[in-house]
């Protein structure tokens, strides 16, 4: 446990000094500032106003940016560390491989989750200072969604880093994974369904298996509980899960996917060349 904590701390320290982290923190901090600057708290759309409106927009934007950012920075730094000799030196010390791998996972999770979370809290604090009502339930749900999203894409990133032997290959593979998940989002799925005349259940199954789609649908559900925007597939989803069930699915499923993929990555990491 001592080795895991010290490795997590080490990864966090490395991340805080990395250029990508500044860009990352700047993007999410800037996002909150921009949303305030454009007066989003004063606007009213579909019944959402004040901080709720801002948070809905923030979470939608986060879901567009966070996956690709997490994937690319994770594989770049892990594969880069292996290539540049950092693994050679650090793994020559008697740190258990499990502590090294999962310690880095924890450290990386904190470095990708905290800026997004802190930016969201800053938005809430700012809104509260201006007299807006604080939507506590929404904040808790969004925080849980961000945790789930971060773990999911970190898991994919760690697996890709364990499989790829060079930074270039790792980055290319990570980008490809993101692109595939993007291709199976709702609008494209609808297009496929119409064109290929696939059974709706197949399309819905694909949508439920795609973590990016799961997040989109979950975030959508907050301001569109009947999922009108989603079209006919909404019936299947709501019949099978119900609103609460789907929210639980959107939190648990991506987390499990992330941890399972990271677990496969760990198995691969410890059973092949470490450097």
């Amino acid at each position: 446990m001592k080795s895991l904590l010290v490795t997590a701390r080490l990864d966090l320290t490395e991340s805080l000094r990395a250029r990508w982290f500044f860009v990352y923190a700047f993007v999410f901090g800037g996002l909150v500032l921009a949303l305030f600057a454009f007066g989003l708290t004063e606007s009213r759309v579909m019944g959402f106003t004040g901080l709720s409106r801002l948070l809905v927009t923030y979470i939608q934007l986060s879901m567009a940016i966070l996956p690709i950012f997490v994937l690319l920075t994770t594989v770049r730094s892990l594969a880069g560390d292996r290539e540049s000799g950092i693994f050679e030196y650090m793994l020559a010390m008697p740190v258990p491989l499990s502590a090294w791998y999962w310690g880095r996972f924890v450290g990386r999770f904190l470095s990708v989750f905290l800026p997004v979370f802190i930016a969201m809290l800053a938005a809430v604090g700012w809104g509260a200072a201006k007299g807006a009502d604080i939507p506590y339930a929404q904040i808790v749900y969004y925080s849980a969604l961000l945790i789930s999203l971060s773990i999911c894409f970190l898991g994919i990133g760690f697996l890709v880093s364990s499989l790829a032997r060079s930074t270039d290959v790792a980055q290319g593979a990570a980008f490809l994974v993101w692109l595939v998940l993007l291709l199976f989002l709702d609008l494209i799925l609808l297009g496929v369904m119409v064109r290929e005349q696939l059974p709706p259940e197949t399309i819905v199954a694909v949508a439920l298996a795609n973590p990016m789609q799961v997040f989109r649908t979950a975030a959508m559900m907050l301001f569109d509980p009947d999922l009108v925007l989603l079209g006919p597939s909404a019936y299947v989803i709501l019949d099978a899960f119900g609103t609460t069930g789907y929210i639980a699915w959107s939190l648990v499923y991506p987390t499990v996917v992330g941890l399972v993929l990271a677990g496969i990555g760990y198995w691969r990491f410890r059973s092949t060349d470490l450097v």
Partner: protein, 300 residues
Amino acid sequence: MIEIEAVTKVFRRTRVLDALSLTIESGDRIALIGSNGAGKTTLIRCLLGEYTHGGTIHVDGKEPRHDRHGVLGDIGFVPQLPPPLKMPVRDLVRFAATVCDGDRGEIARIATDLGLDLEEIGSRPFFKLSGGQKQKILVAIALGRPVRMLILDEPTANLDPAARRVLFRLLAERTDMPMIISSHRLDEIAGLVNRVVEIDRGRVVLDDRVEEAGDAAAVQKCRLVTARTDEAFAKAIAEWGFSGSDEDRVWRGEVAGPDRMRFLGMLARYAGLLADIELADKARGGGGPAGPSGPGAAAN
């Protein structure tokens, strides 16, 4: 004791280690030499449990790959190229001391010996230090840990003569533990070892005992006279800590015993300029150089 038995490592179709076998006893201080691509670093990585491989490696009966703590806890390692870590020096030392059950004070003490104040550079990112500073920190971490074996990959590559002298002294204090010192050139590390193993294309092609060089911590006093003043020579000899007199024609200084071959190699570049060379053991010579003139004096 380390037993390496028919170790084979293949990268794609290239056989980098080819059924290599080697036994290293507890008193062995080995110069692991060979050209680029001979398999030195691959062998070291196998020893450190970083590569999967065919054959077996046992360190005191334990497999590095499966008993990492048992094996790596006893090995101090200095890599050839310092890792480009962004973390502050202080964090690196803390990490190493924590996972290796080491003492930060001892690491700092060795760093100070090598001419580096860890307090002063503690907050600086490791990768922004000079090559010599990085090397000193890695050496301090390796020697500041409670280890029973040392693996050093080109340990003197970035060190100045003064730091090399301290390193030789520190290693001389540890001659009871096995060491593997990898280098392209035997002359650079000959004074530290008692056995030489040469690898070529993944196989041991030479395994021989070498004459003990005596006290690896020995220091030799040196006096040089040049035929004329030369700016390039003055710069080169000043890097060895020598001071000049008589219009920079007479130079005096000290050379670490194991470093004398390297020193003579440097002098060879100025052979036409040198009028006189005196080199003698400091302890034996007492007040100053007393040996015969000429390069042959270096054989003391």
